[in-house]
Symmetry: C2
Subunit: 236 residues, 2 copies
Amino acid sequence: MDTSRFKAIAFDADDTLWENETLFRTAEDRFCALMRPFLPEEDCQKALFSVEMKNLPLYGYGIKPFGLSLIEAAISLSQGRASNALIQDILAIVKDMLSAENPLLPNVFEVLTHLSQNYRLVVATKGDLLDQERKLERSGLAQFFHHIEVMSDKKPDNYRKLVRHLDLKPDEFLMVGNSVNSDVLPVLEIGAHSIHIPFHTTWAHEVGEEPLAHPNYKKLDSMRDLMVLFGGDPIL
Amino acid sequence: MDTSRFKAIAFDADDTLWENETLFRTAEDRFCALMRPFLPEEDCQKALFSVEMKNLPLYGYGIKPFGLSLIEAAISLSQGRASNALIQDILAIVKDMLSAENPLLPNVFEVLTHLSQNYRLVVATKGDLLDQERKLERSGLAQFFHHIEVMSDKKPDNYRKLVRHLDLKPDEFLMVGNSVNSDVLPVLEIGAHSIHIPFHTTWAHEVGEEPLAHPNYKKLDSMRDLMVLFGGDPIL
């Protein structure tokens, strides 16, 4: 990958810069523990996922849609026997998620320090604007980024708009992220470049097949490898 | 107001371009009707508003935060006696709101047709990105706008960022909207210009005192008056 061609590098945020999916996994576990009187844990996880998928087109991504789906699932999975205390526990899960810290992933700070000297960096993320701005603010990483682009979805058209907005040709744009479906495939489709750094946990909705042979694609193990690729000090 | 100085005009969306507050009023009425077994309508409206205000910093603006606050209010106002059917009715209110049409306000289409010939137009709105994009898409107005700027809040700093992003001086920027607190005061504070076109209903949170004597401020009765101010055909 010839890194000199890039005029901007966009980073996905959740599970690329900081941990996030773990928040959702913990919340699902708390929810399914609350639902144990009604159904086994594994059935609960599956049923919840199908409620989320049904609501996705109308609700979009983020914690608040997730919270509304949890409440809907609690009522349907309990066959209308969810107590008010249980619903309040779910609202507490939602508020805990919104107030939670998102720990930075290893070496993110160092890599951004290095890259920001030579590239325009942006954050390109799905989800809720307020939540994502808050996470960026708390992360201490805002200083490295030209701006944050919160996208309603990560389809090819959304990336086309972003690249146009940055006044670039697709070939000058690199996306770095942890999701094949959101950060890789649509980016390659518009003629831009993508680096995939997997996170240990991936939401079922985001799992996709890697385009290993594509010339504009590269898979790396960690931020440390990204540092090396861009000529930074490998001793982190 | 010397209209030739403006290089971009930003429009608030909800209750400036299309009706929106009426959706929330209808939803509140439906909610308080559901709550009638527990408390009188007027007390319900007040109590709901205080739950919303308490949650605003954490939840932000939009329909989904409103929905979560409705459920929280249902449980507390019923003292833990809200049935699952009632909670399901609230989820139905939320989904109805998300799927609702937002009727265009009178003459909006004609005014934007006229202004877009001479000015760069943007939408500057609070709320949920997915919801606002969907409303713009459905409205048939997207063609007139350079882009949509969804802001997590409308404080002076948010406007400073927007004006910088448009590569303008504050004095070259005009904001048009229905809320004194969101579309007028913070805009005047950064040295830009503001036109206030009141909507018949205003959310209590948005009511503010008009800076009638400010040289950069103008209050108009309707989009028709905006058309006249910008030299368009007054016969709409």
